[in-house]
């Protein structure tokens, strides 16, 4: 079992295009693969593989929300005044809790003289699992509007994938953008990271932060430069970083309209436009990825793993010591 995370820090640089190409290429080579779409705020990996029907749909519950028992409520309005989030309104006949605003703190329940307010789990979205027409499993999730991705949700998407994929599969994780909680969860328990960068300052800056996070987890990194020809001078700067930081360089991909058109057709670009420049580049990269990262994982891990731990220390804000004597 091997779990490789495709991440970038910045969004929209080609994580899904790269991960779908890896999955499509490895599958065509007859390998057992499983797709994990950890980008649950904007899930789209399934669209590239044309998945429109899910075999497994499970409710995902995480937070709490307050609920009023109208049999007991006497409309005294104390809860409405005390709610720190102003989530309770009165419509003239009854009090209503706005589920989107409610944080589940239960101040209302505490102050209610009638004990008419209790809490229930909020359904944040659904976990889903299925099979692509290429014959490999895919797992992901879809959130309700206003509900955040979380480390817990990514953990559950990953464990659903493992139920579907089994012990011998190669797992390719399409990570969410950013380097927050959900990305940390995508990295934890994985075996390596593929960074996707485009030659822009924003993408490069975010990729560096992503690489710092990979180093924190003592994971080896590989790097792909996407849309390399839109800014060739900057590409050189990225390559200098790759050499300095001991990252495995997988190659570059040119800009090509075939990518957005293939997405609109709901097909992997390797299948939709196999002779395009971008497909040639993606095939070469996938071939190198299979040889060096998948089959040569032990060697790759030894060579490109950070030599010593480099913890990524987040900003710590400590409250000032109180000077008031008690």
């Amino acid at each position: 079992m091997l779990e490789i995370v495709v991440a970038s820090g910045k969004g929209g640089v080609g994580k899904s295009t790269v991960s779908s190409s890896f999955l499509y290429y490895l599958r065509k080579k007859g390998r057992e693969v499983t797709a994990i779409d950890a980008d649950v705020e904007a899930p789209n990996l399934h669209l590239i593989f044309g998945v429109s029907r899910w075999e497994i749909i499970r409710e995902y519950k995480e937070g709490w929300t307050a609920k009023i028992d109208y049999g007991r409520c006497d409309n005294c309005g104390i809860c409405r005044n005390e709610c720190p989030f102003r989530a309770i309104t009165f419509d003239g006949s009854k009090h209503i809790i706005d589920e989107v605003i409610c944080e589940g703190c239960l101040t209302c329940s505490l102050v209610c003289p009638q004990r008419a307010i209790f809490r229930v789990r909020t359904v944040e979205g659904v976990l889903r699992g299925g099979k692509t027409k290429y014959g490999f499993p895919i797992s992901g999730a879809k959130l309700r509007v206003g509900r955040p991705n979380s480390g817990k949700l990514v953990t559950e998407v990953k464990s659903l994938a493992k139920e579907l994929g089994g012990k011998n599969s190669i797992y390719v994780v399409d990570a969410p953008a950013g380097i927050g909680c959900s990305v940390v969860s995508a990295l934890a328990g994985s075996n390596g990271v593929v960074l996707v960068v485009e030659p822009t300052k924003a993408s490069f800056a975010d990729a560096k932060r992503m690489h710092k996070l990979a180093k924190h987890f003592m994971l080896p990194s590989a790097l792909i430069i996407n849309k390399a020809d839109i800014n060739p001078e900057f590409t050189e700067e990225i390559l200098n970083y790759v050499r300095k930081e001991n990252i495995f360089y997988l190659g570059s991909i040119p800009y090509d309209d075939a990518v957005p058109i293939s997405m609109a057709e709901m097909k992997p670009v390797l299948e939709f436009a196999p002779e395009s420049e971008v497909s040639k580049a993606l095939r070469n990269i996938s071939k190198l990825f299979e040889k060096e990262v998948i089959d040569g994982w032990h060697q790759w891990f030894r060579e490109y793993r950070p030599k010593k731990p480099e913890p990524y220390v987040p900003l710590i804000i400590k409250p000032e010591q109180s000077k008031v004597k008690r």
Partner: protein, 113 residues
């Protein structure tokens, strides 16, 4: 000394190290004496898994309350690393899948150097 090992199994000393630190299902608490003999083993549910985020800080909080000296996991996230430092719990990495008995050997090696 009190050692906490994260695991997805509730099998006492035969539990194995989980693939995740803060989001593992159980915390196995092992008490060892000065000669590294195992004196006591308890398995606790890890309450940190229930939260959407902040699991790293939450598990360290419960380890601190349990009076743990050494925490063992496959890897530690950024927040967990800082929190462990703050409360003075030593972090020891062990590969996922190995049993608690092997973990104690690793901890012994790491701490006696």
């Amino acid at each position: 000394m009190r050692i906490a090992v994260v695991s997805d199994e509730n099998k006492g000393l035969n539990s194995t190290v989980a693939t995740r630190f803060a989001r593992a299902k159980y915390i196995v608490i092992v008490d060892v004496d000065k000669e590294w003999n195992i004196k006591d083993v308890r398995v606790k549910d890890n309450s940190a898994v229930a939260g959407g985020s902040g699991a790293g800080v939450k598990i360290v909080q419960s380890l601190n309350e349990l009076g743990v000296d050494v925490a063992v996991g496959p890897s530690f996230g950024p927040n967990a690393t800082v929190a462990l430092n703050e409360v003075g719990i030593k972090a020891v990495t062990a590969p996922p899948g190995i049993t608690i008995k092997e973990v104690i050997k690793i901890v012994k090696e790491q701490l006696t150097i």
